[in-house]
């Protein structure tokens, strides 16, 4: 029963992971010239995955207790959550940036200014968080309206999508700046 219910989604999400790996392999020359970016990919993936999980879990709770209506409209609750979790993301990335610069191997930032490196991480988290916030909100309302629990469907989907999208967006933004 467990195998039957899980195998398809696990195979699909692993396939998404492979696509991300293919992209990283394709960008190997760029990554190997700035290895600090290889170091920050796992924590950045974890950060976006965690924030998405918090968002979908909060939206689901708000919808179930009636704190937000099942309609796409602005509210104080939404604004509070958007800015609070965005600040959390930015502070987390600031921490990640400082620690990674301290412990990174010599020459891992030789072709990039540390401030630009931090700025790239900031832009990445802001872009990804905004996109995931919108996706979480719309999908939570859609699934809730159709009588489904958004937690069950969206948490595995979003964390896997975050694993796929985060390195791609990070490298695209990096290419803009160098």
């Amino acid at each position: 029963m467990i195998v039957k219910e899980s195998i398809i989604i696990v195979l699909l999400t692993s396939f998404l992971g492979l696509i991300s790996g293919i992209y990283l392999s394709d960008q190997y020359d760029l990554l190997s010239s700035i290895p600090i970016f290889i170091m920050v990919i796992p924590p950045l993936n974890a950060c976006i995955g965690d924030l998405s999980t918090i968002l979908i879990s909060k939206f689901t709770t708000y919808l179930y207790i009636g704190l937000i209506p099942p309609k796409i409209q602005k509210s104080e609750t939404l604004r509070n959550n958007f800015f609070a979790l965005l600040i959390t993301g930015i502070l987390s990335v600031l921490f990640l940036s400082i620690i990674s610069i301290i412990i990174s191997p010599p020459n891992s930032l030789s072709i990039l200014n540390p401030f630009i490196y931090t700025f790239i991480l900031f832009i990445t988290i802001i872009v990804l968080f905004t996109v995931f916030f919108i996706i979480c909100f719309i999908s939570a309302i859609f699934l809730f309206k159709h009588g489904k629990d958004p937690n069950n469907i969206m948490i595995p989907t979003l964390t896997s999508t975050a694993d796929l999208i985060t390195p791609i967006i990070l490298l695209i933004i990096l290419q803009i700046f160098i």
Partner: protein, 188 residues
């Protein structure tokens, strides 16, 4: 209470978990940069790393969620009885992991060939994900079960604590297991 959640309260509550999660994953990144990049074959080994991390999250995360659910519903006691139910959960987790591990190994090999990389021994390409996943699960399953039961005994909700802790532990174990597999299999 939820309606009174201010921005400051949300930031305060979520930042601690984030810092722990980021720190754990940073160790995984450090292993990659200091120990895995130097491998000659890194440019095509990197294909399977995101897939392994994703698989780890989905398989280990759902194992933890199922154990927590069973503890809450009383289908599993604090002494892990009936043991058959816990073993079934482990069996399913291992079966899914090994099956998807083979899938990742074969597909990585195909993709690597299509990208024009040097043709690698298929046995090695299959063994790397299988070893990595087994290494992670052998440590992760007993550890997460212990944490789950400990939280339950102390009246804490395992959902809030075990998953964030195990995310960073599992990511570290996956990357470390990956490194060990490369060394043991003599990958160039």
């Amino acid at each position: 209470m939820l309606s009174q959640d201010s921005k400051t309260k949300i930031v305060k509550e979520s930042i601690v978990g984030e810092i722990i999660s980021i720190t754990g994953d940073l160790f995984a990144g450090i292993i990659m940069v200091f120990f895995i990049i130097p491998f000659e074959s890194f440019s095509y080994l990197i294909i399977m790393i995101p897939a392994l991390l994703t698989l780890r999250g989905n398989v280990s995360g759902t194992f933890i969620a199922r154990t927590t659910r069973d503890l809450f519903t009383g289908e599993l006691s604090k002494t892990l009885k009936p043991i058959k139910r816990w073993l079934e959960n482990i069996g399913a987790t291992l079966f899914i992991s090994l099956l998807v591990g083979v899938f990742i190994g074969i597909l990585s090999q195909i993709v690597s060939i299509l990208l024009g990389n040097e043709i690698f021994n298929l046995f090695i390409f299959l063994s790397i994900p299988l070893f990595t996943i087994l290494f992670d699960l052998i440590i992760s399953i007993p550890l997460s079960s212990f944490l789950n039961i400990s939280c339950f005994r102390f009246g804490l909700d395992p959902n809030n604590l075990v998953n964030p802790i195990m995310t960073c532990v599992d990511d570290f174990l996956t990357v470390f297991g990956f490194l060990l597999s490369l060394i043991l299999l003599g990958v160039p």
